[in-house]
Structure formats: structure tokens, C-alpha cells
């Protein structure tokens, strides 16, 4: 064969694809790893709550109300004598659920809006973006309260409200990354091959615009947990017996002088989890930075 083919050579170094690559870079940052550990612990406790919780979170015993931490009840008991540790572990499920649903609404509605807007450009883009501007100008908390007023108090409505308020953020984000990617040659290459719009969007544009969306959704997890806790604290979230961190915080608030632990531990959990997601998000932002890829 001609000498232009005498090129065949073996890989110099074994590599394991982009996910492993990101993890490798992430592992070099102490704060990001701390975030990752917190997030993993949070996820595990949410997933395996029934296995991890030492007691039934709804089993109450008024005789032991506000009991201080002990060997059997490491974080003590609340105003109805329920195990605070178990409630916190179960509360993680609610937080995770809220976070996931809120982000899913944001991503599944916002990202397609942004991608289509950027990909087709021109007038489509102009109209969609003015719509997004309008949504951005509307305060999220007001939207949430409005929905709750219209549809009634409840976890579902909180999630929908918060989710809707994140849509324009994802739309913006997706739009700006698609705008950058759209002009790259591999997109033109896909067109020259004869790929359809749908294929170009699904195969090339979305996978390449995921990095900022992943970072944003990690950070949004933190925000969503705070929102849920905030609305729960105001009594607009879950209905009473459900273990939810914001509601627990509110419940414990009245006893803060006599039983510090009832409000402190849920508060601490909110703080640590939010911090964890933020640290992980910042770490991911650095690790996913394409400029680092050499």
C-alpha cells in the first residue's frame, strides 16, 4: 500500500472517555471532592432511607417529646417525640425529589426552548427571547406564591412553581451555548453529510452544550432545596406529618430556647447539603472547562 498509509500506530496511553476524565480532574480539587462526598451521602440517605433510619420517622411518643440526643436517638426527638435523625434521613428524600422535579421541569422545557431559539435564529429567536425576558422579569417567589394561591398549598404546586421559574434560566443557558457551538465546523460537517435538523440538534448540539447545564443544575439543586425549605418553613410546602427539613426547622423554632437540637440539626442539614451542591457545582464548572482539555 502507498506510503501515505504507513501511519498505523497504537495509542500511546490508555484513556477512559470523558466521564472518567472529568472525575480525574475533579478528584484533584479538595473542595469539589468534599462537595461530592456530601452529595453522595445525601443521595444515599435519600435512596436508602428505610434501611438507614434507626426509627420510624412518624412514630411519635409525646412522653419523650423534645428529648435531648441519646445513644438510641442520636439527634434527639422533636416536639412530638419523633426521632430527628430518622426524620432528617427521610427528609432527604423530599429534598431530592423536589430538586429533581424542579430541575427536570427547568431542563425539559427550558433547554428545548433555548436550543430551538438559537439553532433557527432570526425571528424565531427574537420572539422566543422576548418571552424568556418576560419570564425572567417576573419574580420567582411571586410566581410560586401565585400558583400556591391558585392551586392550593402542597408539595406539587411548590415544585411546579419553582420549576417554572427556572425555565428561562435554562433556556438562556442552552441558547448561549448552542450559539457558540452552532458556528463550529463539526456542525457544518453534519449538515454537509446531509443530517436532518433533528439529528444535528440531538446528536451534536445538545451533547456539546450539556456542560454548563450540568453545572447549573447542580447549583440549582442547592437553590431548590433552599426554596423548598423556605416554603416549607412558611407552611406552604408539604402537609404536616411529612418529614421535610424546612417544616422541621419551623417546628423546632418555637422550642429553640428549651431544645436547641430540634431546629439546629435540620438547619445544619440544609446548610451542609446546600454547601455540598455548591462546592460540587463549582468544582464541576472547573473540571468541565474545555480550556483545560489538553
Amino acid at each position: 500500500m502507498a506510503d501515505s498509509r504507513l501511519q498505523i500506530e497504537k495509542p500511546e496511553r490508555k484513556e477512559r472517555g470523558p466521564v472518567w476524565d472529568v472525575f480525574r480532574r475533579l478528584s484533584k480539587r479538595i473542595t469539589a471532592m468534599m462537595g461530592l462526598v456530601i452529595v453522595v451521602v445525601f443521595l444515599l440517605s435519600a435512596l436508602f432511607a428505610p434501611l438507614l433510619a434507626p426509627h420510624d420517622p412518624y412514630e411519635h411518643s409525646l412522653a419523650d417529646k423534645l428529648a435531648t440526643p441519646s445513644w438510641d436517638y442520636p439527634l434527639g426527638r422533636d416536639e412530638l417525640g419523633r426521632c430527628i435523625l430518622s426524620r432528617i434521613i427521610y427528609g432527604a428524600r423530599i429534598s431530592l425529589l423536589i430538586g429533581l422535579i424542579v430541575i427536570s421541569i427547568g431542563i425539559f422545557v427550558g433547554v428545548p426552548i433555548g436550543v430551538v431559539s438559537a439553532y433557527f435564529g432570526g425571528k424565531v429567536d427574537f420572539i422566543v427571547q422576548r418571552f424568556v425576558d418576560t419570564m425572567l422579569a417576573f419574580p420567582g417567589i411571586l410566581l410560586a406564591l401565585l400558583l400556591i394561591a391558585m392551586l392550593g398549598v402542597g408539595l406539587h404546586n411548590v415544585m411546579i412553581a419553582v420549576g417554572i421559574s427556572t425555565i428561562p434560566i435554562y433556556a438562556r443557558l442552552a441558547r448561549s451555548s448552542v450559539l457558540a457551538i452552532k458556528s463550529r465546523q463539526f456542525v457544518e460537517a453534519a449538515r454537509s453529510i446531509g443530517s436532518s435538523h433533528l439529528r444535528i440538534i440531538l446528536q451534536h448540539l445538545i451533547p456539546n452544550s450539556l456542560s454548563p447545564i450540568i453545572v447549573q443544575s447542580t447549583l440549582h439543586m442547592a437553590t431548590a432545596i433552599l426554596w423548598a425549605a423556605g416554603l416549607g418553613f412558611l407552611g406552604l410546602g408539604v402537609s404536616p406529618p411529612t418529614a421535610e427539613w424546612g417544616a422541621m426547622l419551623n417546628g423546632g423554632r418555637l422550642y429553640i430556647r428549651v431544645a436547641y437540637h430540634v431546629a439546629t440539626f435540620p438547619g445544619l442539614m440544609i446548610f451542609v447539603t446546600v454547601l455540598g451542591f455548591n462546592l460540587l457545582g463549582d468544582g464541576l464548572r472547573d473540571a468541565l472547562d474545555p480550556r483545560l482539555k489538553t
Binding site: 504507513l6 500506530e9 500511546e12
Partner: protein, 324 residues
């Protein structure tokens, strides 16, 4: 002529996530006053890094000059204080870059930008500076300098911007001009213009020039001596005429053979250099060029060849003896 710049065993490494990149790994060369030296090599061979190291412009982290000496007019530039090196930069050693747009400040007029250096290094007042700027712009061939002095960088074309950069670089009568791929971003017809301007002005002002390029043609016309770099080291060095006529390193030989030439009859087939550019993190022991070399012998994979004389001022770092 006296020796202006002496680089001895310069080593600049970059510490990256993937490993240590030995961008410059033991480079030595001299530059005489008024001489033009060509530093030739492909992207990643360390030619730019070695030039930036002279002015200590390596971003740290990730880069670090880990060893060597750089004597400029008798002073070791790697040992002097930050204040002293700032005085050397621009004033005694000036630099022009490949992309003039990124090295000019987009929100200042070019008059202000050239004037800044004059006021800083040559203690001129505003009026003297203005006269000098006009003289410089005229010198590099910018038409209608009185009008253009108040223009912003984006109002100039690529070639004109590079002329502004040349004017700025020469404003303090530096002893040495480092030109890092000055014509790579412009077209051939503009490239010819720019190189003539640099050549004409520096020979008139007696400025020594270090011309960094990957284009063997550019070097042939404009330099007295040249050094060919590969994987962070100089593999061949000598008077330009001598190196072109009798290349001694297989890499130089390969490069010269692989480019089609307009002055020669068309060849049926080009003779490429096999293989891929080296991975600077995983260099083979022995000679870095060995995996791509058609002259390789057993010793090449074991011991790294050092530069050895093969003619008058002509050195090569290769174990093989080439015919002359």
C-alpha cells in the same frame, strides 16, 4: 560584533494535570549584535516558549523556568529583580506577536499605546512623543499618519496592525527584537511587505532580530543564522546558507524534502516525515526524533545525542554521519 544574548541550557517546564511538559529542555544559543537569528520548528517544539522565557513572560503556574542562564549585555535575566526585567522589556528587548489584535488594547487609540512606551521609557513629554509617534508610523509605512494616530486598533487591517506593532516595538530603539510568527496570520502578499519592513528597519537601526517561524521559506530570505527545534531541544544550528545547502539532522532534511517548491520541477510524489509530532509528556528515552527517523540506529533509543560541530559554526544533535 559583540555577543548580545547568550542562552545557556534553558529549561522551561509546564506542570499540567496530565504530567510535566518539558517545553524547553536544555536550549543554548548566542545572538550577536545586529544579527538575525531564525528559530524554526513546528507548533509545540518550544520555540515560542524559549523566546518568552527570555523576557520571563511564562505564566506561572503552570509554567516555570527550572534551569539555565540568559545573559543579556552581561546580566543574567533570570536573576535580576522584577523591576529590572520590566525595564528590559520593551526598552531593551521588544517583542511582536503572531496576532496583533490580541496584543493591542482595543479601547485605546494607537497613538496613546505607542506614546505610553515613549513616556515610560524615554521620558518624553506629550508634544515630543506625538512627533516621535508620527515619525515611527511613517517609518513602518502607515499612510497618512496624522489622521491614523487617533484611530483604534479595529480600524486597521491585519497587516497595518502588525505595522503598528512593529512601530511600537521599535519605539525605544531596542537592542533585540523578538518576532514570534509575525506573518503567520497574514496573507502572502502582506507577509512579503511586513518582512521587508522589519528587515529594512532593523538593519538601519542595528537591531538584532530573533525570528520565530514554522515557515522554512521565511527564514531562508531573512536570517543570517538559524536554529531548528524539535521537542524542546535544538537539533541543528548554523549559518542559514549552510543549513539549507547541507542539512545534517534527519529532521531538517525531512522538513526540507517534504515541502513542494515552486522553483523546482513538480515532483510526482512528496516525501513526508513519517509518524506524528512528539507527545512532550511521554518523550522516548534517547533521541526524541528517533521514532520518526529514517536514519535511526541502535544507539538512538538509548542515548540522547548532544549538539556536535559538523562544519564552520554548524552543529547537529544526531548520531548519524550525513554525507555532505
Amino acid at each position: 560584533m559583540g555577543i548580545l544574548l547568550q542562552v545557556r541550557d534553558l529549561k522551561t517546564y509546564f506542570y499540567t494535570d496530565a504530567g510535566v511538559v518539558k517545553a524547553v529542555d536544555g536550549v543554548s544559543y548566542d545572538l550577536k549584535e545586529g544579527e538575525t537569528l531564525g528559530l524554526v520548528g513546528e507548533s509545540g517544539c518550544g520555540k515560542s516558549v524559549s523566546a518568552l522565557s527570555i523576557l520571563r513572560l511564562i505564566a506561572n503556574p503552570p509554567g516555570k523556568i527550572v534551569g539555565g542562564e540568559i545573559f543579556f549585555e552581561g546580566k543574567d535575566l533570570l536573576k535580576i529583580s522584577e523591576k529590572e526585567i520590566r525595564n528590559i522589556r520593551g526598552n531593551h528587548i521588544a517583542m511582536i506577536f503572531q496576532e496583533p489584535m490580541t496584543s493591542l488594547n482595543p479601547v485605546l487609540t494607537i497613538g496613546l499605546q505607542i506614546g505610553e512606551a515613549l513616556e515610560l521609557h524615554r521620558n518624553m513629554n506629550k508634544k515630543e512623543a506625538r512627533e516621535e509617534i508620527l515619525r515611527l508610523l511613517r517609518m513602518v509605512g502607515i499612510p497618512d499618519p496624522e489622521r491614523r494616530i487617533g484611530d483604534y486598533p479595529h480600524q486597521f487591517s491585519g497587516g497595518m496592525r502588525q505595522r503598528v506593532m512593529i512601530a511600537m516595538a521599535l519605539s525605544c530603539n531596542p537592542k533585540l527584537l523578538i518576532a514570534d510568527e509575525p506573518t503567520t496570520a497574514v496573507d502572502v502578499t502582506i507577509q512579503a511587505q511586513l518582512l521587508e519592513v522589519v528587515k529594512e528597519l532593523t538593519s538601519r537601526l542595528g537591531t538584532a532580530v530573533m525570528l520565530i517561524t514554522h515557515n522554512l521559506g521565511v527564514v531562508a530570505r531573512h536570517v543570517n543564522r538559524m536554529a531548528v527545534m524539535y521537542a524542546g531541544r535544538i537539533v541543528e544550528q548554523g549559518p542559514a546558507a549552510e543549513v539549507y545547502a547541507h542539512p545534517q539532522h534527519p529532521y531538517t532534511i525531512g522538513l526540507l524534502a517534504s515541502v513542494p517548491r515552486l522553483d523546482k520541477p513538480r515532483k510526482e510524489r512528496l516525501v513526508p516525515i513519517d509518524g506524528q509530532p512528539p507527545n512532550l509528556i511521554l518523550l522516548p528515552p534517547g533521541c526524541s526524533f528517533m521514532p520518526r527517523c529514517s536514519y535511526r540506529m541502535e544507539i538512538c533509543s538509548k542515548e540522547r545525542p548532544e549538539l556536535r560541530p559538523v562544519g564552520d559554526g554548524h552543529f547537529t544533535a544526531c548520531w548519524a554521519n550525513m554525507e555532505r
